[in-house]
């Protein structure tokens, strides 16, 4: 059966390159093979937290509390809305991400995922950060 609506081919918000879907332990992320950026869909963090048996509250709160600011780079690979800059703060340190205004997910430029992992590794949702460290072991090394 043909689906009624075809989704546009998702492209990298940063460089327009092809996104490949990574799947590990049932969690999906999109990786741009050109610039190394990562797209994390809405809900995946909760899924990881659920599997790890930890409370993702702190982490998702940190992401939700993030101050949404000026227009970021590119468009959301899911809904094609323009991404907005978002600052996530944890224990005095800050990390700037791009987020979909509709809430479809987050974009991590190359290197930002490493910052993200080190930022949250110690906290209560450390298991979620460790998951990314494990999933993207070589990429983050």
């Amino acid at each position: 059966m043909m689906p009624f609506f075809h989704r546009p081919e998702p492209v990298c918000p940063a460089c327009g390159g092809d996104l490949i879907v990574l799947e590990w332990a049932g969690v999906e992320m999109d990786l741009c093979v050109d610039c190394g950026g990562l797209w994390l869909d809405d809900g995946e963090l909760e899924l990881i937290a659920e599997m790890a048996g930890v409370d993702a509250g702190g982490l998702t709160d940190a992401l939700n509390r993030g101050e949404v600011g000026a227009q970021g780079q590119g468009r959301c690979p899911r809904c094609a809305r323009k991404l907005r800059k978002m600052v996530v703060r944890e224990e005095g340190e800050a990390l700037e991400l791009d987020a979909c205004p509709k809430g479809d997910g987050f974009w991590f430029d190359r290197g930002e995922m490493r910052c993200f992992v080190s930022l949250f590794e110690k906290g209560e949702a450390g298991a979620v950060a460790q998951f990314f460290a494990e999933m993207l072991h070589d990429d983050l090394a």
Binding site: M1, M2, P3, F4, F5, R7, E9, D18, L19, I20, V21, L22, E23, W24, A25, G26, E28, L31, V33, D41, D42, G43, E46, L47, E50, M51, A52, G53, T60, L63, N64, K102, G103, A127, Q130, F131, E134, M135, L136, H137, D138, D139
Partner: protein
């Protein structure tokens, strides 16, 4: 159980008659209003210009017949193509044993437990929100649909609980009633919508013209026509709401009944309870509430948990589903066993002594007590399990000690990947990489272990099942290999055969020694 089904049927008939009457009355009122309105405004040559009884009778009759015709057409469409349209708009895909054995197994298990003759067909919808629903006009032709979000979040016990709930709906003939009732509600909504819109967009201008030029001449007749139009407008605005309320009144009790059936079929009420908790747990941003998503208003009453919850503040009357907390509480407090009697006891316990969910005869008909079974042991990861989402974590150390979700998750993701034309590379470290069809990079590096993969090796997800049986189903597909240099090179054909290129190779094509496919060799 039979009593519950008969009771459902009786109630369904009553609701049906009421809805049918509503539909006819709506048609009649609109017909009267239209005939009076046009009669009064265009009969200006006729000096009377008043609304006659004859006019009203004719208009009402035509209106009622028109409404019945609309309903008939919609019913025919719904009965013959309904499931297909519903599933197509929701973006579903049918899966069979070979695509998703775990999921299909669970469905078949529950169909046997429910004593359904034929197991329902299974569909997967691409929606991150966990949910499930059943459609179909009779138990033999029913369809159970689950979202990918559900498969990814549930363990086996929970998945079983949700599927059993849907099978319960099918068994209790809720699905058929819901389909027909939804069509009735939709026809009523359609008729009043068309009427109201035509009044708002065209009627307005005509009325203005009418009142400026000829109202003084006509006197009372015009006023009566206008009053009738106003009455019809009010009626058209209210009818869909009333129809919807009738529809919902039936739907809530059915949820408890399906829960009771699920507890009995699975003999494990905790499974459905924890599934309901997981499903009801809000996403950090409620996607469904923001609109524009695929699960629509029409699908809502069919789902396990209302996906539109949070959109409306009015609870109770307007909800398709009873509050999830209550449902979980009832299931959780089923201590003694998993039978209907135990559900009834738990229901009374939670909602107070006076309330009843199941009739006395249902309870007395139930034979021996149904024991609650033990929770399933955590899934064992068998090496080399196809598409085991969790299996991946077992290759390296599993630092998180994660609870694995059901293996059906990986299957679902693969199937949906195939829907969007992705091809699969499976790395030895357990990472799966899905690359788009037109991907042209010569090499893909696994972000987990750093292994380099050749995208040409990628397996088409869509053809995954077929290609196992019948190799190179599409021999004419252009197949290319980009040379890296001028030296010796080895690459793999899509059939898996390793092919060598010598430094002397000058040709444009090479034929695979195994599947005889022609491969274009491009200079590096």
């Amino acid at each position: 159980m039979w009593e519950a089904i008969i009771q459902n049927r009786r109630k369904a008939r009553l609701i049906f008659v009421l809805m049918g009457l509503l539909l006819l009355v709506l048609g009649a009122v609109i017909g009267m209003a239209v005939s009076a309105y046009f009669g009064a405004s265009f009969d200006s040559a006729d000096s009377r210009g008043s609304v006659t009884l004859e006019m009203l009778l004719y208009g009402g009759g035509y209106g009622a017949v028109g409404a019945a015709i609309v309903w008939l057409i919609m019913t025919v469409v719904a009965v013959t193509r309904g499931e297909k349209i519903l599933l197509a708009t929701a973006g579903g895909r049918e899966v069979t044993h070979s695509d998703a054995p775990q999921l299909v197994n669970v469905v078949e298990e529950m169909a046997i437990a429910a004593n359904l003759g034929t197991p329902p067909r299974v569909f997967i919808l691409d929606d991150p929100l966990p949910n499930a629903f059943a459609v179909g006009r009779n138990p033999e032709k029913a369809v159970v649909a689950v979202t990918s979000g559900l498969l990814r979040r549930m363990n086996r016990d929970e998945l079983q609980g949700v599927i059993a709930h849907e099978i319960g709906h099918i068994k209790n003939l809720d699905v058929r009633f819901m389909t027909y009732a939804a069509v009735m509600v939709a026809s009523i909504a359609l008729i009043s919508e068309v009427f109201l819109r035509s009044i708002l967009y065209t009627g307005g201008s005509r009325r203005r013209r009418y009142s400026s030029s000829s109202s003084s001449r006509k006197g009372g007749g015009g006023g009566a026509a206008l009053a009738l139009v106003a009455v019809a407008m009010v009626f058209a605005a209210l009818a869909p709401v009333v129809a919807h309320l009738l529809y919902l009144a039936c739907s809530r009790k059915r949820e408890y009944l399906a829960d009771a059936s699920a507890a009995r079929f699975t003999r494990y009420p905790q499974g459905l309870a924890s599934a309901l908790e997981k499903i009801a747990r809000p996403f950090k941003r409620n996607r469904m509430a923001s609109g524009g998503d695929r699960s629509s208003k029409t699908l809502a009453p069919l789902c396990t948990v209302n996906p539109l919850a949070g959109r409306s503040r009015l609870k109770g009357w307007f909800s398709t589903h009873p509050p999830t907390e209550v449902r979980v509480q009832v299931l959780r407090s089923m201590a003694g066993g998993a039978g209907y009697a135990d559900y009834e006891a738990a229901y009374q316990n939670v909602l107070g002594q006076g309330s009843h969910c199941l009739g006395k005869r249902t309870l007395s008909e139930e034979g021996s007590a149904v024991q609650i079974r033990q929770a399933s042991p955590p899934e064992q990861k068998s090496p080399g399990a196809v598409g085991a989402a969790g299996g991946a974590a077992g290759v390296l150390t599993d630092p998180l000690g994660m609870q694995q979700s059901s293996g059906a998750a990986g299957e679902a993701l693969d199937i949906l990947g195939g829907l969007s034309g992705l091809r699969l590379i499976q790395c030895t470290c357990g990472m799966k990489m899905k690359i788009p069809e037109h991907f042209e990079k010569p090499v893909v590096k696994c972000p987990r272990c750093g292994k380099q993969h050749n995208p040409v090796m990628a397996q088409s997800l869509e053809k995954k099942v077929e290609s196992d049986v019948e190799e190179s189903a599409n021999p004419k597909a252009p197949f290319r290999y980009q040379r890296k240099g001028k030296g010796w090179e080895t690459f793999h054909c899509s059939c898996g055969q390793a092919l060598n290129l010598s430094p002397k190779f000058q040709g444009r094509f090479i034929r695979c020694s195994k599947c005889r496919k022609k491969i274009e060799v491009m200079e590096g």
